[in-house]
Symmetry: C2
Subunit: 162 residues, 2 copies
């Protein structure tokens, strides 16, 4: 087996672990994975976001975002509010309850990862960061012209410094 295959297998293991884990995580928090993602994004943007932003960030249609926000509103995790600056826009604001749900999400996978990561030597941490960023850059759709789906959203412009 060559190194390319090895790297692909390792990537698939990473993907699989996180995918399986996301389901556990969300269900433990009483939310579905997609709903949790919405909450996390809203929370990460300082507690408010528009459906448009969510749609872009998540790579799904606005119709889907509407449905997800409906559910979160029904459960009291977020509240809708008409924007004053542009009344076509709706602000999706996280509630105290929503914040609590995000905070209390028993993020065992991430905790395990963080713990393992922080147990490493400094030079190993740097090596891993460099490698992960390298791989992320290799996968990033930024330069692809012919992939409309991937062109959705400003990948990284909000959260990934370069």
């Amino acid at each position: 087996m060559d190194r390319t295959d090895q790297s692909l297998i390792a990537l698939r293991r990473i993907l699989r672990s996180t995918e399986l884990y996301t389901r556990d995580l969300a269900s433990a928090a009483g939310l579905t994975p997609a709903q949790l993602r919405v909450l996390q994004i809203v929370s990460g943007k300082g507690g408010t976001a528009t459906p448009k932003e969510l749609s872009k960030q998540m790579g799904v249609s606005q119709a889907t975002v509407t449905a997800l926000v409906d559910k979160l509103v029904a459960r009291g995790h977020v509240a809708r509010e008409r924007s004053d600056v542009d009344r076509r826009q709706t602000n999706v604001n996280i509630t105290a309850r929503g914040r609590a749900a995000v905070a209390e999400a028993p993020d065992a996978l991430q905790q395990r990862y963080v713990k393992a990561f922080e147990a490493l030597e400094g030079w190993e941490q740097m090596m891993l960061v460099a490698a992960l960023e390298r791989v992320a850059g290799m996968l990033d759709a930024r330069d692809l012209d012919a992939a409309p789906v991937l062109a959705i959203g400003d990948i990284g412009s909000s959260s990934v410094p370069h």
Copy 2:
């Protein structure tokens, strides 16, 4: 920002790129992501697998596998066959058409990644493989049966402590 955050951000970028891409890939192949995954697994196991194996490998219930296989059967990508050794079991066999679908899946992300990876110097490839496997190991506490891999080696530099 500390190195832990940097590594988490890079990981999320990797996850996001692949997740968005999977949808594009599957739709171009005329399949849904879940259906394509079934086909890929069956194909990877030599052309036949049981629902139980698929369920385990994919991390979904058997009921879900049944539904997915139903769809693939309807489209002629796989065929069911009763096992002779244990007649409770059903073998899901890939058809020529199924193989073609897997082979023709325009796996642009992977191709793009492979191309970038293979353009790297040998030592860089080794570094990335070591790093990815390291991360996979940190995330992947349970099932090791998913991939035919392998204890993480050190990368040739003699002093990787653990």
